[in-house]
């Protein structure tokens, strides 16, 4: 595979959907609280998490999301490391296949006044606690906004995402979060590409006009082949009139036979078109 995927897509496809993903700096610092709102002229909202053995949700602060409103919203996260107690609890929750939940309040990244920023309620998401443990707390949190800058959803996934039951040393691996944070604003879906298409048509038209060779008729282009052929046929026809007629009949017969063949060929063509991509595909057993 010589080409990498993005090159192929950009070659083949007119539109690669660009999600306006703003990767933000992640402060995986051990200290929280300081350096929050000084360099950003933003505001901070708590990022809360909950993991309980009995699956009763009790959210506690995990860190602070510092949001910088404006045209180009930026987000950063500062969070503490897990305490000894939390580490053991997380492992216990993972052992019973519990859930690790996060939530953020509904805020707007655009509104100017503080009062308008916050709305009622929270946005929640979850991941399996075992995945959290086995990925050594490396998670990817994505905040999704709508056109007006309101947060509409939050998602959390871990990397790697699977639970394999591998052993984890809590001192080394479960201390600090290794979080990648991003904000996903809605991208603009493309409309029909008329301008490019017309441009291409014009270029082709121009090419045709510039190259008068192309405009020549069939006969003008290939007269040097046709004239000898006709001459040859005339010569041979003059020699043997009746024989020529007979061979013409045979030729006709041949033509009809091949005409019969065409539908079959079509059908084959169609089969291949239908099954041009045949792969074993297991029934996608859903988790639903």
């Amino acid at each position: 595979m010589a080409c990498s995927l993005p090159t192929i897509i950009s070659t083949y496809c007119s539109v690669v959907l660009l999600l306006c993903t703003h990767l933000a700096l992640c402060n995986n610092g051990r200290k929280v609280g300081d350096a929050v709102d000084t360099e950003f002229s933003g505001f901070s909202v708590p990022l809360e998490h909950s993991f309980e053995v009995d699956d009763v949700t009790t959210f506690r602060v995990r860190g602070a999301l510092v949001l910088k409103p404006g045209r180009d919203p930026a987000v950063s996260l500062s969070q503490t490391q897990l305490s000894e107690e939390d580490r053991t609890k997380l492992k216990e929750v993972a052992a019973v296949d519990g859930l690790y939940r996060v939530r953020v309040p509904r805020v707007s990244l655009q509104a100017d006044r503080m009062t308008e920023r916050q709305a009622e309620g929270y946005l929640t998401a979850f991941v399996r606690a075992c995945a959290m443990v086995e990925s050594h707390l490396s998670d990817v949190i994505t905040l999704t906004t709508d056109v007006s800058g309101y947060l509409i959803g939050v998602s959390i996934v871990t990397l790697p995402g699977a639970c394999r039951g591998s052993e984890v040393e809590d001192e080394v691996d479960l201390e600090a979060f290794n979080t990648t944070l991003s904000v996903m604003a809605p991208g603009s879906a493309p409309g029909p590409e008329t301008a490019l298409f017309i441009e291409r048509l014009n270029v082709e038209m121009e090419k045709k006009l510039k190259n008068p060779q192309e405009q020549k008729s069939f006969f003008a282009k290939y007269w040097m082949y046709i004239v000898p052929l006709v001459l040859f046929l005339m010569m041979s026809g003059a020699q043997d009139q009746s024989g020529g007629g007979a061979s013409g009949g045979a030729g006709n017969g041949g033509l009809t036979a091949s005409g019969c063949d065409i539908p079959l060929g079509h059908r084959r063509g169609k089969v291949t078109e239908a099954s041009s991509l045949i792969f074993p595909f297991p029934d996608s057993s859903s988790s639903r």
């Binding site: 192929i8 959907l17 399996r128 995402g161 603009s188 029909p192 291949t272």
Partner: protein, 963 residues
């Protein structure tokens, strides 16, 4: 495992091969269409010739149609625009002209009823319509009077021109409700100030001059139209329930109203019943008859006569369900329908002027066991040769059925007008024949001894042999008869699965609450079942809980009927093949239902489990046997569901807990101030995807993102301004709530139609910037490598798929959108687009491919990608329903058949159209005109030639040996 064959280099060649049109001789072979008109509002028999066989109907669906009374087929039909604009206010019939008032008095139209052509059309002045009537002059009907809120106008019947238009006096306070004329050169407009007085204005027919204005005290009257009729020589007759009396008023004299208490006639009104008066005016140029009906109770009618200002009782009909007048020639008869027993009614004619019963006029109307009650009676009376009156009758029932009968009770035809409003449908496989089922059953049962097994096997083989012989005999017998005589009646016995499963049972749910089982091959209605007490605004959801594959358990369908206002639901469980209500009692649902979910897990009787989530987020299961509950407990942690609340813009995901309660897992909130959720659409459960990837030009594979839990959420901006409006598309994983894709189509608005299947989403929107309809396609790919190729889990897919998108201009607006579906998903997909013109377009998905290149390269040619063109073509051979247009198509249903190449399609709206489509042509079927004779004769010829030559060779060898 099939071999993947990659064809290259002839993408342009392939383009010529999408033609799916039918040949002339195939018309009607695989498809059928049924046309409907809707629930009848007005129906009139064509009486202008004695031998006429037409009934004219104006319906609630804004359709004006003529039905042949011999066959019940539509002779012609005019479909007007939906909504109040095309609403038919009034239908009048004179001779061969039918006059219609349409759209709250907006238009006055006259139709020629013989051919259904428009005679003339007039645009009327604004003003809400009140009443319309013919006006006769000098013994012939020459005008139409149209009464509006503030004006009355008179139009010539011959050309529609306005003769005069007059404003009504004091129209601010007086509500004019009726117009009356008896051909004496005057037109009366009858108005009312509720609970105060009646206001009568008489106009001259000639010039519209007001001849007189009369005010009559009537403090007890609140509605003129509902309580009053004109009988006899211009006598206004009203009934008042408070004083239990009749009031009469002579319109020609300026008098007071005369009160006639019902007690004096020795009559009694059923408690709580509003009495109803019915009169008849056979000829608009003459006064109405002096006989009239008075209904005093739900099953009590009286035929009364007004004679010298006195009311005389001609006949008392008790019990009597429905009554109706009918006129033929000079004779007017009264038809009375009475309940005979629980299954039948009798209709008897009486002479209107004497109340005498006419001999030999009894007609028995048998009610269907699961039908609705008769609602209205339309009588077509005619004079027999001996001058006695004969009649035919059309009965309209609650379930919108029309039954046309003649004496002594022979049903000539029935029309199921409920089918003009199909809400949802499903297709169910037909059961195996008895013998097939027996064979299946043999393998299904547990082994019980060697000897009995052998015996059972032998007996089933014998029955199979017997069935086969019978089949052969039938074939032989049928072959001798001419083709037209071979009956293909559909009965319960002949309903069995064909070898390719092309014939299925269509279960259609209509808005009126009537369920139908229709054979998909012929369109015959096999069963019907009317559900009473279905609320008018009900939402229906039909689910197939058990298919026919589990013999001997009967198939089972469940219909969830939910009142949209209260959210309370009812379950109706039935057998989809026979329509019988199941003996299983469904659980009662005391709480409003938020969501229903059909799980793939089954109980011990192979019925899929239906989960119902109520507004307390508690879950109830149906069936809820011990086995099911145990399974649910085991699987609880992997059963997720979502709820969408468009009013709050909230989407939430829940998980089932072992005690059948739920816990909230995720929440996504779309602020309602910015955008509102239009709909949420998942994938179809029975969809198969055959290939997991696409082969690229360089032989590498681009893997599809096939998330079965993916939901497409469509939103529309609340701001309607064309510059700021947008349509939003969110792709959300239904288990984790993760937003996979978030995009807005700017300067766009609805209506949005969307299809979500495999790894793609196709939607159509209106671009308010360019003022055109546009299609957009989204495809999701995992990339060059699969994350986990064995199993898909929403909880373990950390990488966001790549989303490719492209948009196209579509030259017409659309009514509905659906995708074809086949058994294994090998066949290429087509989109079925229902157009407002009634055509159904089969659009190859190949044209909606975001990888269509702008610049053609060697690799894209290798992949058979069509070069990008912004405009989507519409080719006439893509119309799968040739000239069989489906009026007001509202939905398309697709179902796979047993043949991989074939997909069954049903389009419904006002009409129903069923056909088959072959998106990749019929690659697994021999053609219709395949020459069996030729191939078999060649085979036999070759066989005999070998035999003979072998024999000859032997002889030759022998001869040589002797030499």
């Amino acid at each position: 495992m099939a071999i993947s064959i990659i064809t290259g280099g002839f993408s342009v060649f392939l383009l010529c091969h999408f033609a799916g049109a039918v040949f002339e001789d195939q018309v009607g072979k695989f498809d059928w269409r049924q046309q409907y008109a809707g629930k009848v509002r007005f129906a009139l028999f064509d009486m202008h010739v004695q031998s006429s066989k037409k009934v004219l109907m104006a319906t609630e669906k804004n359709v004006f149609a003529s039905v042949n009374t011999r066959t019940g087929d539509l002779a012609w039909r005019h479909v007007d625009s939906t909504g109040p604009e095309g609403n038919i206010d009034s239908l009048l019939l004179h001779g061969q002209d039918a006059v219609l008032v349409v759209g709250d008095g907006r238009l006055l139209r006259s139709w020629d009823i013989n051919v259904g052509g428009l005679n003339w059309e007039m645009v009327l002045d604004t003003g809400s319509f009140q009443a319309a009537s013919f006006v006769g002059h000098l013994d012939s009907v020459r005008y139409v009077a149209v009464l509006k809120k503030a004006a009355i106008s008179l139009h010539y019947l011959s050309n529609g021109h306005q003769k005069w238009l007059e404003n009504l006096p004091e129209s601010d306070s007086v509500q004019y409700q009726a117009v009356y004329s008896e051909g004496d050169g005057e037109v009366y407009a009858l108005g009312l100030v509720p609970n105060s007085h009646i206001y009568i204005v008489a106009f001259s027919v000639e010039d519209g001059e007001i001849i007189k204005q009369v005010t009559v005290e009537a403090p007890w009257l609140s509605d003129l139209g509902a309580n009053c009729v004109v009988v006899g020589q211009g006598v206004l007759m009203c009934v008042d329930v408070a004083t239990l009396s009749l009031y009469t008023l002579d319109l020609h004299l300026d008098s007071e109203m005369t009160q006639i208490p019902l007690q004096t006639l020795e009559l009694e009104v059923s408690p709580g019943f509003q009495p109803v008066l019915t009169s008849t005016q056979p000829n608009a140029a003459q006064a109405p008859l002096s006989e009239f009906f008075l209904q005093l109770g739900p099953e009590h009618h009286l035929l009364l006569q007004l004679k010298d200002n006195k009311v005389v009782t001609l006949r008392d009909f008790q019990p009597s369900l429905l009554v109706s007048f009918a006129t033929t020639g000079e004779k007017t008869v009264a038809a009375v329908m009475a309940t005979k027993n629980t299954t039948a009614c009798t209709i008897i004619l009486y002479s209107a002027d004497s109340g005498r019963r006419l001999l030999d006029t009894t007609l028995i109307f048998t009610m269907e066991p699961n039908g609705g009650k008769p609602e209205r009676l339309y009588i077509q009376a005619f004079l027999k040769k001996d001058d006695s009156v004969g009649y035919r009758v059309m009965v309209q029932s609650e379930d919108h059925t029309l039954t046309f009968m003649q004496q002594p009770g022979r049903v000539m035809w029935t029309r199921e007008e409920a089918l003009s409003d199909v809400v949802t449908m499903e297709m169910v496989d037909l059961p195996l024949t008895g013998t097939q089922a027996e064979l299946e059953g043999e393998f299904g049962k547990k082994a019980d001894g060697l000897c009995s097994m052998v015996l059972k096997r032998l007996s089933s083989q014998l029955t199979l042999l017997q069935a086969w012989m019978g089949h052969l005999w039938k074939l032989f017998y049928d072959a001798r008869k001419p083709r037209s005589q071979v009956k293909n009646d559909v009965t319960m016995e002949t309903l069995s699965r064909d070898e390719f499963n092309l014939q299925k049972m269509m279960i259609m749910v209509t808005a009126s609450g009537k369920l139908f089982g229709i054979d998909s091959k012929t369109g015959t209605i096999v069963w019907k079942h009317y559900l009473e007490n279905v609320p008018a605004n009900a939402a229906f959801k039909l689910m197939v809980q058990r298919t026919t594959a589990h013999f001997p358990h009967p198939p089972q369908c469940t219909l969830l009927i939910k009142d949209k206002d209260t959210g309370l639901g009812v379950l109706h469980v039935f057998n989809p093949i026979f329509g019988k209500k199941s003996h299983i009692t469904p659980p009662s649902l005391p709480q409003p239902i938020l969501q229903s979910l059909l799980l793939p897990i089954m109980d011990q009787d192979y019925a899929k489990v239906l989960l119902l989530i109520d507004d307390q987020y508690k879950v109830s299961a149906f069936p809820s046997t011990k086995n099911v509950l145990q399974q649910l407990q085991e699987m609880a942690s992997s059963i997720f569901f979502y709820l969408a609340d468009p009013s709050q813009g909230r989407l939430a995901g829940y998980r089932l807990l072992t005690d059948l309660s739920t816990e909230l897992l995720w929440e996504v909130v779309l602020p309602v101030e910015v955008q509102k959720i239009l709909f949420v659409k998942g994938k179809r459960g029975n969809e198969h995807v055959h290939s997991q990837g696409r082969v690229m030009g360089d032989r590498s594979v681009l893997y599809k993102y096939l998330n079965p839990n993916l939901l497409a959420v469509v939103t529309e901006s609340t701001d309607p301004h064309p510059e700021r409006s947008f349509v939003g598309i969110l792709l959300i994983d239904g288990v984790t709530g993760r937003i996979i894709h978030n995009a807005v189509q700017r300067k766009a608005r609805g209506p949005v139609h969307l299809v979500h299947s495999e790894n793609w989403v196709v939607y159509k929107y209106w671009s308010s910037k360019s003022r055109r309809n546009e299609f957009s396609v989204l495809e999701l790919y995992e990339g060059m490598e699969l994350y986990n190729s064995t199993v898909f889990s929403s909880l373990d897919r950390p990488h966001v798929p790549q989303v490719l998108q492209q948009s196209y201009i579509f030259p017409t607006s659309i009514s509905t959108l659906e995708a074809t579906l086949t058994e294994k998903g090998i066949t290429s997909r087509h989109l079925l687009v229902g157009l407002p013109s009634g055509a159904i377009l089969s659009l190859p998905k190949m044209f909606l491919d975001p990888r269509r290149p702008e610049i053609v390269t060697e690799q894209s040619r290798e992949e058979n990608l069509i070069p990008y063109a912004p405009e989507m073509p519409i080719r006439s051979e893509w119309f799968i329903n040739y000239n069989q247009t489906v009026a007001r198509v509202r939905g398309i249903y697709t179902a796979p058949s047993g043949l991989e190449s074939t997909c069954l399609v049903v389009a419904y709206g006002l009409d129903i159209y069923q056909t088959r489509v072959y998106p990749s042509k019929q690659f697994d079927v021999l053609k219709d005109d395949y020459d069996y004779m030729l191939i078999s004769s060649v085979l036999f010829g070759l066989f005999f030639a070998t035999m003979i030559s072998k024999r000859l060779a032997e002889v030759k060898l022998l001869n040589r040996a002797w030499r």
